[in-house]
């Protein structure tokens, strides 16, 4: 089976003032389609940086990031935007729903950007809301939802366009532990039923424990 994500000797350094920070120092990693994988590691180990590189939100300083055979270093910013729109689903630590839009509108957002007709959007979101157990909340604004509900809307948004991979940076960090495991179970279920690849990061051993595969990071390197 072909690798969905391939990282080859990936380096990423930031310039913080006069100081150079090496956030990722030579990472080699392969993720296959359909995996349910976790990035684990202490704070500052490079989890966010790595996810941003894979999601095309950031460019590697050296090495290659190849997603679905596409070398992201060769992409323009417009191409990267289109790549994210077509191939990547994002889930964020603090949900990042658009506050003025309803739950349904938030979940439909990516589909709208893709110019999917309203009827199709509607049908797709109905199914996802059902699977995620948030049916009936469609008309609520993010402010009127609990953290767990907000993050489920965010999962629906990420899944709506049937991306190749869903990248989730600490999706449970702002949730209590019960809600967190519930969310993970839902993600796992979507992974099993729809075959969507998931790559998520976490500090939480309980969350990490639910992954099929764990990639441990320390100081920007993968450790076994």
């Amino acid at each position: 089976m072909m690798e969905l994500i391939q990282l080859r000797n990936v380096l990423k350094s930031y310039q913080a003032g006069v100081q150079q920070v090496d956030a990722v120092r030579g990472v080699n990693l392969q993720i296959k389609a359909g995996e349910f994988a976790a990035l684990a590691g202490p704070s500052g180990s490079g989890k966010t940086t790595l996810l941003n590189l894979i999601g095309g939100l950031d460019q590697a300083s050296a090495g290659q990031v190849i997603v679905e055979g596409c070398n992201l270093a060769e992409c323009s910013s417009v191409e990267l935007a289109d790549f994210r729109l077509q191939r990547i689903g994002f889930i964020f630590q603090s949900f990042n729903l658009i506050p003025v839009l309803t739950a349904r509108e938030n979940a439909e957002f990516v589909l709208m950007l893709r110019k999917v007709p309203a009827e199709k959007r509607h049908a797709r979101i109905d199914i996802l809301f059902q699977q995620l157990g948030i049916s009936g909340l469609e008309q609520r604004r993010p402010m009127e939802l609990s953290g767990g509900q907000q993050q489920r809307v965010a999962v629906a948004r990420a899944m709506a366009a049937e991306p190749a991979v869903v990248l989730a940076d600490e999706p449970t960090a702002n949730l209590d532990s019960e809600t967190a495991t519930d969310l993970l179970f839902l993600m796992q279920q979507l992974n099993r039923e729809q075959g969507t690849t998931f790559l998520f990061s976490s500090h939480d051993p309980k969350v990490i424990g639910l992954a099929d595969r764990v990639v441990n990071l320390k100081d920007g390197r993968i450790v076994e």
Binding site: L57, A81, F83, R84, F90, N96, I98, L101, F109, M112
Partner: protein
């Protein structure tokens, strides 16, 4: 869900700020529209009373009389004056003579301008004469009765009914004199006129100057004011061999025309400043909205939106803001214009004495006129300015780096 709705919601996120910007926008639009409509009304009032007291909507002079005021440049209008009068657009044609001379009473003497007019024609047109009661009008074109400016009367120490002598040079260069009688006192409100004006019948004046049947000026009063003057048709009626020239009111009365032009130019400058300030307000509102939403815009970009999506959203926000401001502003601008058209502002409550502008005394009740096309034009300007105002905020929004915006 559309981008438009998103933009609409976004605007109302900070209600107070949006309302303040809207009120500023609407108020400026109202101000600009109303003051334009009012000044256009006042200018046309000025032009109308100016041309009626002065040289008409159009004027015919011989050769360069307009510049030289050479009394020898008279002409005989007999051959074409009736044709002019019978033109559809022409209300009336006023023949006039102007002669420089000296007026002497038993005590004083003063330099004067002796105007010869046709009282029957003038009294219904000329605002100076209109104010006089019927008994004070000149009886005919030949009598010795004279209308005298109030200041001149005072300086010559004359009274109603007093006699005085006017001396001037006739066509042959001879000094000639005429005994006149003060029939009534006129007051134009224009200082130099009131101290030099002596008005008598045109035939008496022409006879005195030895230029019977000749005039210096033909003032054409049009039915439709300064609009749609058939200058070419009028021109065609003038005989070719008399060196006659046709002038528009603004060529013949450059003082008034220039005063209006200057006034309007300074007003337009004010409009520009007002609209500029409002534009800066819109830029500020949008820029603040972008800064507050860095994280959200970062998210939208991360989800795969191109920068152009954010650009469009901000353009829409600016257009909604501009459109709403325009609607509200035009509503109140129309209300104010309506009031000023119907009721006007009576300046007599504010200013004592005559209102003189560009050598013309005008009606103390200022009235606006409707200028819908101009209001539309301002609307287009405002919308374009709002569009311009969104360019920089949109640029900033498009430059947000998603990864960084979300780290904060």
């Amino acid at each position: 869900m559309s981008l438009f709705r998103l933009a609409w919601y976004n605007l109302w996120r900070n209600r107070r700020r949006t309302w303040i910007t809207l009120v500023a926008l609407a108020f400026s639009i109202m101000l600009v529209q109303t003051s334009h409509n009012l000044s256009t009304g006042v200018y046309s009032q000025m032009i109308e009373s100016g041309v009626r007291a002065g040289s008409g909507h159009m004027t015919i002079y011989r050769s360069n009389y307009l510049e030289t005021r050479d009394e020898k440049l008279g002409f005989d209008p007999q051959a074409f004056i009736h044709q002019l009068k019978s033109m559809e657009a022409v209300e009336t044609v006023l023949p006039r003579i102007y002669l420089g001379g000296l007026a002497q009473s038993s005590r004083e003497s003063r330099g004067i301008v002796l105007s010869g007019i046709d009282p029957a024609l003038e009294q219904s047109i000329n605002p100076i004469l209109k104010r006089l009661p019927a008994a004070s009008q000149l009886p005919d074109t030949i009598s010795r009765k004279a209308l005298v400016g109030d200041r001149l009367l005072e300086e010559l120490q004359l009274k109603k009914g007093s006699k005085f002598v006017v001396t001037l040079q006739d066509r042959q260069g001879e000094m000639v004199s005429e005994l006149l009688r003060v029939h009534a006192v006129v007051h134009s409100g224009i200082r130099h006129l009131d101290r030099s004006l002596v008005m008598i019948g045109r035939q008496r004046a022409a006879a005195l100057a030895g230029m019977p049947d000749e005039v210096h000026e033909l003032a054409l009063i049009m039915k439709n004011g300064v609009k749609d003057i058939p200058a070419d048709e009028i021109e065609a009626l003038l005989p070719a061999n008399q060196e006659l020239n046709l002038y528009f009111w603004d060529e013949a009365m450059t003082n008034l025309a220039n005063a209006i032009k200057l006034d309007y130019a300074s007003q337009q400058f004010m409009f520009l400043i007002i609209l500029l300030i409002v534009t800066i307000g819109v830029v500020n509102t949008l820029l603040m909205a972008v800064m507050e939403r860095t994280r959200e815009f970062g998210t939208i970009l991360a989800l795969g939106a191109r920068a152009s999506v954010l650009h469009q959203m901000l353009f829409l926000e600016a257009l909604i803001l501009g459109g709403l401001g325009l609607l509200i502003g035009t509503f109140f601008g129309s209300l104010a214009t309506w009031y000023l058209v119907e009721k006007g502002i009576d300046l007599q409550n504010w200013i004592a004495g005559e209102l003189e502008f560009g050598g013309v005394v005008f009606d103390p009740v200022m009235r606006a006129v409707w200028e819908p096309l101009w209001m539309l034009k301002i609307g287009i300007y405002v919308i374009s300015l709002c569009f311009l105002a969104s360019l920089y905020p949109a640029y900033r929004a498009g430059k947000i780096v998603p990864a960084e915006s979300m780290r904060k």
